[in-house]
């Protein structure tokens, strides 16, 4: 993929959350380093997968891109405009192009609004359609995501999880955005329903030329849907590469361990496979380890890893990795 069609450029993004104590005079007692100096680009029309374990900061990145969280520092440039510098009306206008699909279809739809109101609300907020046009558009959107247009008068509780997620997709599409952040859109769904929603997302992408940031912890699903994949660990991106390269030749020891831990639904290969079982657990982001953040669990760590943070470097064209010893795996 060429670099001249970059849609979104995230540069040195940092997001810290303060931990406070006390009610009236809040004392600052610590900082959660949710995202620490992350840079990446998303190209027009591609799907960038963002994977990592719980608490690694992947959802925070998604929300910071939309300015739902304001970053501590760094920039998020969408189509030449730095979103971090925008406020109020300007920000609202550009958000038309950037939408989000949330993880939990049970919590992200207002139970007191009908499906028609939910999907039509963005159109009303941005005042781009009259009442009648909204009704028409809602029906069209419902059809687009595979639901009966007559359902517009029903309420979210009348739908199953998969159907609700389709409503969430329809809402995200209502403003005809160019870029959608999908924040774990399928992890609350059953296997057979997951496949339905993923197929829907792929069809819509082809139809409208959408660009996705697909956040998930399910590595096999991310591999399936993504063109490129970024792997996160404890607030930093440790590796980013084309999907096929990352899965066939991972260069970061964390990616290697993560991939080897993914169960494959095939007993024959499952028996032969040698999985790298990482010792211990992810350290707390309140006090992240010095140097390389992965050094506390890394099987190939040396003394430099505890002191110097490895640079996020392009080792092969399009293959970025943050490890002092990644050359060993080439």
């Amino acid at each position: 993929m060429t670099t001249n069609n970059v849609l979104l450029r995230v540069k040195n993004l940092v997001k810290h959350f303060p931990i406070t104590q006390g009610i009236l005079f809040q004392k600052h007692v610590g900082t959660v380093h949710a995202v620490d100096d992350v840079s990446f680009n998303i190209h027009k029309g591609e799907t960038l997968g963002l994977v990592g374990e719980s608490g690694c900061g992947k959802s925070t990145i998604g929300r910071t891109i939309l300015q739902l969280y304001r970053p501590t520092s760094g920039s998020v440039v969408y189509d030449g405009v730095d979103l971090v510098a925008l406020h109020g009306e300007e920000l609202r206008k550009i958000r038309r192009n950037i939408q989000m699909i949330f993880q939990d279809p049970y919590a992200s739809l207002n139970p007191r609004m009908s499906v028609g109101e939910i999907i039509g609300e963005p159109l009303a907020v941005h005042k781009i359609a009259s009442k009648n046009e909204i009704k028409e558009r809602v029906e069209h959107l419902l059809e687009l995501v595979g639901l009966n247009p007559a359902f517009a008068n029903r309420f979210p509780h009348e739908f199953s999880g998969g159907q609700r997620q389709r409503i969430g997709v329809a809402r995200a599409l209502s403003l005809q955005p160019a870029f959608i952040v999908c924040d774990e859109p399928i992890s609350a769904l059953d296997v057979s329903i997951q496949a339905q929603v993923v197929n829907l997302l792929e069809e819509l992408q082809e139809q409208f030329g959408l660009t996705y940031l697909f956040i998930a912890h399910d590595l096999s699903m991310v591999q399936h849907i993504s063109d490129r994949v970024a792997v996160m660990y404890l607030g930093v991106i440790v590796e980013l590469a084309d999907q096929d390269k990352l899965y066939t030749k991972p260069l970061h020891p964390y990616t290697q361990a993560l991939l080897s831990a993914v169960p494959i639904p095939n007993p024959a290969s499952e028996v032969k496979r040698k999985s790298i079982i990482l010792q211990g657990e992810v350290p707390s982001p309140i006090n992240p380890p010095s140097g390389c953040r992965f050094h506390t669990r890394c099987p190939i760590k040396e003394s430099i890893c505890t002191e110097t943070r490895p640079e996020f470097r392009e080792l092969e064209p399009g293959h970025f990795v943050a490890c002092h010893f990644a050359e060993r795996f080439i």
Binding site: E53, S54, S160, G162, Q163, D190, V191, S192, I193, Q194, A195, Q196, V198, N199, E202, H217, L219, S220, M221, Q223, H224, I225, Y247, A257, L258, L259, S260, A261, V262, P263, I264, P265, N266, P267, A268, S269, E270, V271, S275, I277, L278, E281, V282
Partner: protein
């Protein structure tokens, strides 16, 4: 062939709700042999957890009720035991690990107390004996500094560590059967790999049989000897693990396997999704409950519920259609 340990026949469980009686388990029969691992897979609401809870009399009643069936374990029918009798089986001869390690430990009691409780109750140990055994158990499941951690409370452990504590508790009385109800669903992949590895090692060391309930066909492939696939409270397919993955015969199993993306897949293909939704059964199924979502369905499927039949040695399927030919059997 190893000895028969548990023989379940024709289990039926129902729940009375304000919308009508939900038929959660509709005549499930299977058996478990010594030292073997049986996996039960299926999506939410297919009755896999209810089946296990029924065996242990853990179904809240009302609204739940076991309406038929037998579960023979060491010449006794588990379903006919009194509360007192089943209590001496639960935890002692049959250990259980629940899905959510966050809610299945008591937050106001120390880990040491919770681990010692079954040892004192079932094995008649003294407090001191139980405490040292509890420390041994914690080190067996790979928790560092076991003796000190006995005095900690569940909130001081991470999710993966809590699941290890649950495992320690489940194996504390060296049960013959370990029932694991979605033990890794709430965990991250690297932690999931640790837990699966631990359970396998304990199985080989203690020689216990395992019933592993899961919706993750990937994990099941790595741990099970036999697999049962459930749909709408019925067993739709049962086979040895290699046979099931290489040669699935029920349309639902085929659909489930097809809807999984695989890390080892080479080319990008659309996932084979199963259209529609799983049913909620308000009556005992008269037709095949999968027929509305099945692309092979023939007329007979709409009139008669298929029975589970052995099509080859050790491979049972409940389907009127032979998916290899697309014709009725």
């Amino acid at each position: 062939m190893p000895d028969l340990l548990l023989d379940v026949q024709g289990l039926n469980t129902q729940f009375k709700t304000s919308d009508g009686v939900v038929h959660a388990v509709n005549g499930v029969s299977f058996n478990l042999r010594e030292g073997k691992t049986l996996a039960i897979v299926g999506e939410s609401g297919c009755g896999k957890s209810v089946t296990m809870l029924s065996l242990l009399s853990l179904i809240p009643s009302p609204p739940g009720q076991i309406t038929a069936g037998k579960a023979i374990f060491y010449n006794r029918d588990l379903l006919k035991l009194s509360n007192e009798e089943i209590r001496s089986v639960r935890g002692a001869q049959i250990g259980i690990i629940f899905q959510d390690p966050m809610t299945s430990l008591n937050p106001v009691l120390t880990i040491g107390f919770q681990l010692a409780e079954p040892l004192i109750l079932h094995l008649g140990m003294t407090k001191v004996q139980a405490k040292s055994r509890a420390a041994e158990l914690l080190s067996m499941v790979g928790i560092p500094n076991p003796a000190e951690r006995l005095n900690d409370y569940p909130h001081q452990f991470s999710g993966g560590m809590r699941q290890r504590v649950m495992i320690a508790m489940a194996i504390s009385c060296t049960p013959q059967i370990l029932i694991a109800d979605e033990p890794t669903t709430a965990l991250d992949v690297t932690i999931q790999a640790q837990i699966v590895d631990l359970v396998k090692r304990l199985r080989d060391k203690l020689g216990m049989a395992i019933i592993w309930i899961s919706h993750d066909l990937g994990v099941v492939a790595g741990i099970a000897h036999r697999v049962i696939v459930m749909y709408a409270g019925l067993i739709v397919e049962e086979a040895g693990v290699n046979d099931l993955y290489a040669n699935p015969q029920h349309p639902y199993t085929i659909g489930l396997l097809g809807s999984l993306p695989r890390v080892d897949e080479k080319e990008h293909q659309r996932l084979v999704s199963i259209e529609g939704l799983p049913p909620v059964l308000y009556a005992h199924p008269k037709s095949c409950p999968f027929a509305p979502r099945c692309k092979w369905a023939v007329e007979r499927c709409w009139n008669e519920n298929p029975v589970l039949e052995e099509i080859e040695a050790g491979h049972r399927v409940a389907c009127w259609v032979d998916v290899n030919t697309g014709k009725e059997r």
